[in-house]
């Protein structure tokens, strides 16, 4: 039998481990990710007003910060997709839905919603296991 060992640094993420399920330490933990998203949102959006010219770069930097924090948490075998929606608070109705075609044992998502007087922000992070 010939095994490749799982080396825990970024350079070997593409190496074959033939593991079809992550061990529980490396599993995408929803609670941890949700907390991380909430912290980033609080840091970057407290007291911020909805200004149309600034929002595009704000939402992009929020998505990048969340993605970088999640990478630091050590989900080595996971591909990450972070989607951020920022909208102005004007009493309008809005509904966001998501559905995924994936492996329910290994893949998962976490989301959080942040609101203040002038804007609301929905952030969703999806983790997909790379076999």
């Amino acid at each position: 039998m010939y095994f490749h060992s799982l080396i825990m640094d970024g350079s070997d993420v593409g190496a074959n481990t033939y593991l079809i399920r992550p061990n529980y330490q490396h599993k995408f933990r929803v609670g941890v990710v949700e907390k991380c998203i909430r912290e980033v949102q609080r840091e970057m959006l407290s007291g911020v007003e909805y200004i149309p010219e600034e929002v595009p770069s704000l939402s992009l930097s929020l998505a990048d910060s969340i993605k970088n924090r999640l990478k630091e948490l050590g989900f080595n075998r996971y591909k990450l997709v972070v989607q951020v929606v920022i909208g102005e608070q004007r009493g309008e109705g809005l509904k966001m839905a998501a559905r995924c075609f994936w492996d329910a044992d290994t893949d998962s998502y976490a989301k959080d919603i942040y609101t203040n007087d002038s804007l609301f922000c929905v952030a969703a992070a999806f983790g997909i296991y790379y076999y």
């Binding site: 591909k79 951020v84 109705g93 998501a98």
Partner: protein, 113 residues
């Protein structure tokens, strides 16, 4: 063990996906005006339609489909996404659709197995 060749059949084709999404949105909410009590059902229909059509393509991909329906009220909305994946095999596609009373934004992310 055979590896999949990265060819036409196994790449994320943005045009194909965007056609599928447009048809799904037209079919589900085509001629309707924004109604708060029906939005739940509409978002579900759009997303399910997209996903069934995408899985019928038979490609070795995992899909994430998100749909946002917003009432036209003069308010602003911005979506952004940041992804940590393999650029050669994975891709995404976002489609914006509107009618007189609402906006619909659908994002599809395809990640190769």
């Amino acid at each position: 063990m055979d590896d999949f060749q990265i060819g036409e059949d196994t790449a994320f084709v943005v045009d194909e996906v965007s056609t599928i999404v447009k048809e799904a949105v037209e079919g589900a909410i085509g001629g309707n005006a924004y109604q708060h009590n029906r939005v739940n059902q509409w978002t579900n229909n759009v997303v399910e339609q997209c996903l069934t059509q995408l899985s019928k393509l038979g490609k070795p991909f995992k899909y994430i489909v998100t749909c946002i329906i917003m009432q036209k009220n003069g308010a602003g909305l911005q979506t952004a996404c940041s992804c940590f994946w393999d650029n050669t095999t994975d891709g995404s596609c976002t489609v914006r659709w509107e009618n007189k009373s609402m906006y619909c934004i659908v994002s599809v992310f395809g990640l190769a197995i």
